[in-house]
Every structure is written in C-alpha cells, then in structure tokens.
C-alpha cells in the first residue's frame, strides 16, 4: 500500500466517510476535532516513523491528503 492509500484508509476509518478526495479540505469537512487531530498526528508519526515537530504542526501542512503527503515526504528527506 502506498502512502496515499494508507492515509486515506486511516481517514476513512476514523471518519467513517468513504468519499474523501485528495484535494478535499479536511478542516472544512468538519471532522477534525481535537481527538481526530491528535490521532492523525500520532498515526503519521508511527506509520511513517517520523517526528512531526511543533513547527510542522499547522493547518496548511494537513489541510488535504495531498498536503499531508507533501509534509511526510519533506520530513522523510530530513
């Protein structure tokens, strides 16, 4: 499974929403509550063995599935 599929699967399971497109604004979709946000960050850290620093935790880095992939790839290169 590639990165995108893993992330999509996590989001779909967590939100029980099966129609999330790569460019959908996850915040606008309204399912980013406090717990979801924390779980998303922890999921990405564990799944991709990265540390998401306080600096990288911001909405633009997580707004869409595509944004999340860019963020992970950037952190993986470090």
């Amino acid at each position: 499974m590639d990165e995108k599929e893993k992330i999509k699967k996590f989001l779909e399971q967590r939100s029980k929403n099966v129609n999330i497109n790569d460019d959908d604004d996850l915040f606008k979709k309204g399912f980013v509550d406090s717990l979801f946000a924390l779980q998303l960050v922890l999921f990405l850290e564990n799944e991709f063995k990265i540390k998401i620093s306080n600096k990288d935790i911001k909405e633009d880095n997580f707004r869409t599935i595509n944004n999340i992939i860019e963020t992970i790839n950037r952190l993986l290169k470090k």
């Binding site: 939100s15 309204g30 399912f31 980013v32 509550d33 406090s34 717990l35 306080n54 600096k55 909405e59």
Partner: protein, 345 residues
C-alpha cells in the same frame, strides 16, 4: 498519590457483600456499604466493578440490592483485575492516577498496585473509612458533580448509538442536535469553573489554577472576558464543559486559559470555542494571542490551536506564546448550534 479520585473500582465478593456469590446466593451487603456508595456518588465520584464472577448472576444480585445503576462499565469476568482497572479508566477516559481500587484479597491489591503504581489501593476491610480519605473529598461539590454518573450513562448510550450508526462521524454528530451555549461566567458558576480547572489535565492549555477569590475577581474585571460553555444534545445535558479566560488590553486579546472536559473531546467543542474567540478578536480589531504551557498530557490542545491557525510567536522552555496568524473567515462546525448570550461582548 495526591490526586483527587475520579473513579473507585470495587471488588464484589467479601468486599461489597459478605460471602462468595457463586457459593452462596444469599450473600448480604456489608453494613452501611450502600451508604458509602451513595455518598461517593453524590460527591461526583464515579464507581465501577472489577470482580471475578459470572456477569449475569452478579449484576442481578446488585440489582436486588438496588445498587446496579451506580456502577459504570462494570468488569465482571475472569480477566486479571489489573486489566479490568485499565479497561475502566480507558472507557471513562480518565488517567489511571485518578483511580482507586478496593479489594479484600491482598494478592489482587498487589497485582493492581504492581501493574499501576499510581492507583490508590484500598483494603476492603477499611471501606467505612473511604469517605474520610482526603483524595475522596472533592474540593467542591457542584450541580455537575452530582449529575456526573448520569452524564456518563448518557455518554454510553451515545456511544452505542454511534456504533450502530452507518453514516460518517460527521453525519452522526448532526443527528445529536448539539447545542453549545457560551456565556459569561457568573458567580453561581464559579464552583464548577474551579472544579474544571482542577480536574482537567489533557484538554488544558496552561493548567493555570485560580483560587475561588481570584476567579471571583476575574468575572468582574474589565480587563478580562471569562466565558463558560455548556453543551446539551438529544440524550441530555453534558453540563458546563468548557471555559476560556481572555485578557484584553488596547491592542490585543490573550487567551490565558482554555480548557474543556474530556467527555467532549470528539465533539469539536474546542474548535467551536476558539472560533468564537477568533470572531470576538476580529470584531474588535485586536490581535489574538494564546499562552500555552506544554505538559506531558496536553499535546492534543497544542495541536488544536495549531490546526486552527495559531503559530508559535515566542517560546521559552515549555512555555509558548501562540499568535493567531490567519485571515480566514471561520465558521462554526455545521453539526453544532452555537447560542451566544446577549451580554457576551
């Protein structure tokens, strides 16, 4: 352990009643233990069970004694009690360091104490002393604490309905008809506000605590906006579940404290409260800052801020000043009706 106890987990055989139920169906309650249980309940301390027994038989015995409704998430099975205690703390969503465990058998007490160092372990023979233990005496007893068990029972009903629900989480939230009322803290709210500041660890931006006198001063202060949020839905009341303290001067608003009860962690309440504050700051053309103090428990709150457009402005050790750096128009989550008291701004 110096924390106030939020949940007491009881054994049954030779703890709540004399005798072993599976050997003798005519067990009798320990003297006045029902009074202990009911008093703890009035104090807002939750109660549960970890007993090696047959579930149906034990529950019907509790029902016979009129005590079944006092226990949430009872763990009556053949699992280890250390596991049962953990399951209960996780189900309620409280730290294990706020749990107490009562059992007559030293082996069970030692097993739980060994697995969970921070659990307060009590010998069942001392049950009549429980009410006198300092950790069992909440700082204050409020309307919300008296209703706490019922609110958790509502939560359990919600969770069951959510599990049955086939649509998305967001669609489910929309079925709850949630109403969030945000109003100025009034004098009669102060005990509950104080209780929230003491009880809340995870969803707490700074962990600042204030004495009753300080809180009372803050509600009359011209330099502060002090708000409390109250939530209800079709299942009933959650009670007063969030507070925010805003300090204002001529150029800026600073959030000194934002906290909410763990029970509303999945309901988007933190987001809604932040949106309200952002709107307040925008309406009066003020810059918006937020103080934040990192602890080992409150990362969730930091992420909430960051995902709402706040960025680190200055930081020193664990203490951060966040600044709201977004121009975006923000709207309350669609599944939530936000009701603002007239005297809000």
């Amino acid at each position: 352990m110096d924390k106030k106890v939020k949940c007491i987990v009881w054994d049954l055989d030779n703890t709540i009643w004399d005798g072993i139920l599976l050997e003798d169906s005519a067990v009798t309650l320990k003297k006045d233990i029902d009074k202990v249980i009911k008093t703890l309940d009035e104090r807002g301390i939750l109660q549960s069970i970890a007993s090696k027994n047959e579930y149906e038989i034990a529950m019907s015995k509790l029902k016979e004694f009129g005590l079944d409704e006092y226990f949430i998430y009872p763990q009556i099975n053949w699992n280890s009690k250390a596991d049962s205690v953990k399951t209960i703390a996780d189900s309620i969503n409280i730290g294990i360091d706020t749990v107490a465990f009562v059992d007559d058998q030293i082996t069970e007490r030692e097993e739980v104490a060994f697995a969970h160092m921070d659990v307060l372990v009590i010998d069942a023979n001392d049950y009549f002393k429980i009410l006198e233990i300092d950790n069992m005496k909440p700082k204050s007893i409020t309307e919300d604490s008296k209703k706490r068990r019922l609110m958790y029972l509502n939560d359990i009903a919600r969770k069951q309905e959510e599990e049955r629900f086939t649509g998305s989480s967001e669609e489910f939230l929309a079925t709850l008809n949630m109403k969030l009322k945000i109003s100025r803290v009034k004098e009669e709210d102060l005990k509950r506000v104080e209780e929230l500041t003491v009880r809340t660890n995870q969803l707490n931006s700074t962990g600042y605590t204030y004495s009753f006198e300080e809180l009372n001063h803050l509600i009359h202060s011209e330099q502060h906006i002090f708000l409390v949020a109250e939530l209800n839905d079709k299942f009933g009341e959650y009670g007063k579940i969030g507070i925010v303290l805003l300090e204002r001067d001529s150029e800026k608003y600073t959030i000194k404290l934002l906290l909410m009860s763990c029970r509303v962690m999945t309901k988007g309440i933190g987001t809604a409260m932040l949106i309200h504050i952002i709107k307040l700051a925008q309406a009066s053309n003020k810059q918006l800052f937020a103080e934040f103090l990192h602890t080992d428990r409150n990362r969730v709150m930091y992420i909430t801020y960051k995902f709402m457009g706040f960025e680190d402005f200055e930081s020193e050790n664990n203490s951060v000043l966040l600044k709201y750096e977004s121009e975006k128009e923000r709207e309350y989550p669609g599944y939530l009706e936000v009701i603002l008291d007239q005297d809000n701004i």
